[in-house]
Symmetry: C2
Subunit: 139 residues, 2 copies
């Protein structure tokens, strides 16, 4: 996929329909996923159009994973997760990005890979409230 | 979950029913997943009973992710994947481990999170053949 057909690189309407920018970290951008079926769910997208983890050199890998780890900790602390799930899929969106998904014991898809069928959309003010909390934690 | 009830820490029959050890890397153990619905699928399990990525310090995180990255590259090169999927779930098995899953365009669950329903078990000699290829790449 060329960079000009990648919605992360485009940073246009398609991206904005799915997620809201929270902040920039060392080497990536944190987005709040609009479908909040898991409250606090975020995406951590690398700032470059990279497909696989192993395309990063040692320093780049460390910096990206520190961003992922810090984001997971912020979500975990804010939303009292029982377990964080971390996933890179991107078969059809091959721009390196992690889904960071807080799971709760007995909750939706506990004990299984996190589901994609349930949709929970919030009011703009509710998204902003979560974004402010995340920004504070990640500052 | 206490270490003595964790099947990675136990390293007994339960673990052996699910996966076969390939090799040790810097800080983790690579296992071939017995369900080969995605040919080459492996697990990279941390050698310590750690729950979340953010429990690792910077150096530990880098070393673990280099293990994950090297394993993904080996699988990618051997099985000509169109995309690697990387997942930490472990809601009920909270011992840090990645599933490294090679996906192929048009194949099983392409464009979606990798599925868990399809089961493909191989002959022992076929597992050994894959393990030898992985060991050679990861040596």
């Amino acid at each position: 996929m060329a960079e000009n057909t990648c919605f992360y690189c485009e940073n246009g309407e398609k991206l904005k329909s799915l997620m809201i920018e929270v902040c920039k970290l060392r080497t990536s951008t944190v987005y709040l996923f609009k479908n909040q079926s898991f409250k606090g769910r975020c995406v951590v997208a690398h700032n470059d159009h990279i497909k696989e983890l192993f395309e990063l050199n040692e320093e780049e890998l460390k910096n990206y994973m520190l961003d992922v780890s810090d984001t997971a900790k912020a979500i975990n602390d804010l939303f009292k997760a029982d377990k964080i799930n971390y996933a890179i899929n991107g078969d059809k969106v091959p721009h390196l990005h992690y889904h960071i998904v807080p799971k709760h014991e007995g909750g939706y898809t506990w004990g299984m890979p996190f589901g994609i069928d349930k949709k929970v959309y919030l009011e703009d003010s509710e998204y902003q409230e979560i974004i402010e909390l995340l920004r504070e934690k990640l500052a």
